[in-house]
């Protein structure tokens, strides 16, 4: 048995490696009903978007209408538009995939997104809204000058492209998998549709379409989520999916103990440190604050209060969609572990991005299963539209205005059309070679935003000391550093700047944003701060003041303290985390390593189980042997005692017999002496005849007595010997029987050394 276990222990890793060399992958194939209904839903949806875009075109009379929808979008509609603008295809499909891959850690990411969304409304939106322009770049241009605006527009194009590639890739994937188009065709058709309706309708069309898209997304996610949860046994709580899977938590803990562990990620293989969580704030929340297409929605609100109320609605809808996505991601993880992995099938990145559709097709009727297809495309279109609008306004308005300051309003609108369309076409071209996971490039877009726009906007609004050289230097440092680290994955040339393992980019965000912040403060102070009174007056005005006081928002102490803090964060983020000191390995080697580790773990488990079983058996045998031995010893002692008692009894009887014989001999001898004396006296009394008769009688009596005593003594000795021998034989027989009894169980437990040893 132990050899068999040893063989299993030796060969399990090898078997697992052999298995890992030829993995079987799950391939999703949409059913006919899902594919057909998906096409119908998609065509209806695209038709609606284009119609809304065409209707909106009639309302566009000025650049203000084209870029800000005439600042007329109410809080509920704007909240819905904000949520659909923010929740992209990467969110709709990518979060499920990311949750499937990283589990608990995604909770931190999602809440950081939500937090960043609210932080814009607290720290930036009111002032930007009072400034009264269309984009963040325009604010930067008027606050820090034209050069800063050009740098900001370049940064915007870089991050918008990073963001858009992920979205375009998702659109292409959906068309490819659902409708069997090749990726390029799907990408071009999807990209052209969204480019068309955004270009035609401008911000009016975009706003109304984004509101419509938010409603489609919520229905397309919520309804399948309820049915999926009901089907996998989540019970009545399924009707509120964000918290609808509590009953399945124990089941998840059984199949994947690390799912709810905040200190592990990537299926329990990567430990989570405090620094990673800290990096989430700088990368995601601060990145959200800097995203120009998010900030742009605040320019469409009629008032600052409406802009804040839009955020409130947006927060609710964003949470509803995010946490419903969590429920589906949770169900997908259970499904893949219980159903697919049990069949020896693995999920690839492409299928992971489509898990919502996979789950819907597996567990819901066809007409519902096709809904997520429409929802995903709506999510993709809404975000692509928002970003194209930013590109169009950034180039069509901001750059064109810089080149041609006397441009008429009509020509600005015309340029908006042209650059929006060109931005869409350029993105389609870039998305032809996309990254693996949808969110990979999107998270880098957040990091670029956090390292460029966020510090410039916060300091530009809240610190009068920030000036043009500081802003330009900060934008360049943040943009160039995040760009280099994006391409080099944490390295500056041969020097490893950030060494933080598989999810290094989140820690990179701490470094790049802190570097930009530090640069803006230090360069601004070294160059004398802002001295243009017109700009300083504007800063008071965007905070709601009707008069000007140079002492407001001018604390250099505050700026220096934050700069010192930023410097400390830069150093801290660059210190290698011992947890992640190991260099990232090649994917194949990492997969083999993971398989070997899993096999070794399995072998250890089997061996541990076998050892435990062997220990238990040995312990039971030892206990049994000890019990038997104790019984045998007791029996031996009893038998020995009994034999000893018997021998003593026999010996006592023999002694008694000997004593009786001796007594009898003495009695006979006394009688003989008495007779001899009588005969002597008689002979002395009667002459020699009597004396002769007496001698004869004496001799005869003496001989007779002697014979009798010897006979009696010999008989007594014989009896005593016989009794002693019989007792000894009995004792030996009993002892032998006891030994035999003790040997028998001990022989059945050969591993029990004490039992055999004592024998």
């Amino acid at each position: 048995m132990s050899r068999l276990l040893a063989l299993i222990t030796l060969f399990l890793p090898a078997l697992a490696l052999a298995q890992a060399e030829e993995p079987k992958y799950y391939v999703f194939e949409p059913s006919g009903a899902v594919s057909t209904l998906g096409i119908i839903y998609t065509l209806l949806m695209i038709g609606s978007f284009l119609y809304v875009g065409w209707l909106s075109k009639r309302r566009v009379a000025s650049s203000d209408d084209y870029f800000t929808a005439g600042r007329s979008i109410g809080p509920l509609a704007n909240g819905l538009a904000m949520s659909s603008n923010y929740m992209s295809l990467a969110t709709f499909l990518g979060f499920t995939a990311l949750l499937w891959k990283m589990q608990y850690y995604v909770v931190a990411l999602v809440l950081s997104f939500t937090g960043g969304f609210v932080l814009i409304s607290i720290a930036l939106a009111p002032a930007l809204r009072r400034w009264g322009k269309f984009t963040s770049m325009q604010f930067i241009g008027e606050r820090f000058g034209r050069t800063a605006k050009v740098v900001a527009v370049i940064c915007m194009i870089f991050l918008a492209q990073l963001y858009l590639i992920g979205q375009m890739k998702g659109v292409g994937n959906v068309f490819q998998v659902m409708f069997h188009w090749d990726y390029t065709t799907g990408l071009i058709v999807g990209g052209l549709v969204v480019t068309a309706y955004v270009t035609i309708g401008g911000m009016y069309g975009l706003s109304y379409n984004q509101t419509l898209q938010a409603i489609i997304m919520i229905i397309a996610l919520y309804v399948p989520a309820v049915i999926i949860l009901l089907k996998i046994g989540a019970g009545p709580a399924s009707f509120f999916p964000p918290f609808g899977y509590a009953d399945l938590v124990p089941q998840m803990n059984e199949v994947m103990a690390s799912y709810f562990n905040p200190f592990l990620t990537v299926n329990g293989t990567v430990p989570m440190s405090f620094k990673f969580y800290f990096g989430v704030f700088f990368s995601i929340a601060c990145g959200t604050m800097g995203l120009p297409h998010i900030a742009m929605r605040y320019f469409t609100a009629p008032s600052i209060r409406d802009a804040k109320m839009s955020t409130l609605w947006g927060t609710f809808f964003i949470g509803l969609v995010f946490f419903t996505t969590f429920a589906i991601g949770f169900a997908a993880k259970l499904y893949t572990v219980n159903e697919l992995n049990a069949q020896g099938l693995q999920i690839q990145a492409k299928e992971a991005d489509l898990l919502i559709v996979v789950m819907s097709q597996a567990l819901t009727p066809g007409w519902i299963a096709a809904m997520p297809v429409a929802g995903a495309l709506a999510a993709g279109f809404s975000t692509i539209g928002g970003l194209l609008m930013v590109i169009g306004s950034g180039l069509g308005s901001d750059i064109y205005e810089t080149i041609n300051p006397k441009a008429e309003d009509k020509s600005k609108v015309k340029m908006g059309y042209i650059f929006t369309a060109l931005g869409g076409l350029a993105t389609i071209g870039l998305a032809l070679n996309p990254p693996d996971f949808l969110l990979t490039s999107v998270i880098w877009a957040f990091i670029v935003a956090a390292s460029t726009f966020t510090p410039v906007l916060i300091l530009g609004i809240w610190w009068k000391g920030a000036n043009k050289p500081g802003a330009i230097a900060g934008l360049l440092v943040g943009g160039i550093l995040s760009g280099i680290l994006f391409f080099s994955k944490g390295k500056l040339g041969d020097f490893t700047l950030i060494d933080a393992g598989p999810i290094v980019h989140l820690v990179t965000g701490i470094f790049t944003m802190s570097a930009a912040w530090f640069t803006i403060v230090v360069v601004s102070l070294l160059t004398g701060g802002e001295r243009n009174e017109k700009i300083l007056r504007e800063i008071d005005r965007i905070h709601g003041w009707q008069n000007y006081d140079p002492r407001r928002y001018s604390s250099n102490t505050f700026a220096l303290v934050t700069a010192a803090f930023a410097l400390a964060l830069m150093i801290w983020s660059a210190i290698p985390d011992p947890t992640y000191a190991k260099k990232p390995e090649a994917p194949a080697a990492a997969a083999a390593d993971t398989a070997a580790k899993a096999a070794a773990d399995a072998a250890e488990t089997v061996k541990a189980t076998a050892d435990t079983a062997a220990d238990t058996a040995a312990k039971a045998a030892a206990d049994t042997a000890e019990t038997v031995k104790a019984a045998a010893d007791t029996a031996t002692e009893a038998a020995t005692e009994a034999a000893a008692d018997t021998a003593e009894t026999v010996k006592a009887a023999a002694d008694t017999a000997t004593e009786a014989a001796a007594d009898a001999a003495e009695t006979v001898k006394a009688a003989a002496d008495t007779a001899a004396e009588a005969a002597t006296e008689a002979a002395a009394d009667t002459a020699e005849t009597v004396k002769a008769a007496a001698d004869t009688a004496t001799e005869a009596a003496t001989e007779a007595a002697a014979d009798t005593a010897e006979t009696v003594k010999a008989a007594a000795d014989t009896a005593a010997e016989a009794a002693t021998e019989a007792a000894a034989d009995t004792a030996e027989t009993v002892k032998a029987a006891a030994d035999t009894a003790a040997e028998a169980p001990a022989a059945e437990a050969p591993t029990t050394q004490p039992a055999s040893g004592q024998q």
């Binding site: 409304s121 607290i122 804040k308 709601g544 008069n547 006081d549 002492r551 928002y553």
Partner: protein, 98 residues
């Protein structure tokens, strides 16, 4: 309280409200220090979920909404006071950052 003092108070209120709201929202949506301070929360359940998981979502989403609504009300009052106190006031008036 004269107009200059009103502006001074309004300025302080604006900075304080913004800073506190920023920190509170950041903490509510980045509750991860709780994992490191109270790791045993992972072993306790609330409504069937591990307590840290449940608290993270509820605080970062459902509790955030009323907290943000309260901030909107306060910030609107502060904005109104800024507007009222500074309307018609002369430039470089006392107040502002001491």
């Amino acid at each position: 309280m004269n107009n200059a003092e009103r502006m001074h108070v309004a300025y302080k209120s604006q900075c304080r409200t913004t800073l506190i709201a920023f920190v509170v929202v950041t903490l509510m949506t980045h509750i991860f220090p709780m994992y490191f301070l109270f790791p045993e929360l992972n072993k306790v359940t609330i409504f069937g979920f591990p307590a840290d998981y449940w608290l993270t979502i509820v605080i970062g989403w459902l509790v955030l909404i009323p907290v943000f609504w309260i901030y909107i009300q306060i910030s609107e009052k502060v904005d109104q006071e800024i507007n009222d106190s500074s309307t018609g006031a002369a430039d470089n008036a006392p107040g502002g950052n001491p």
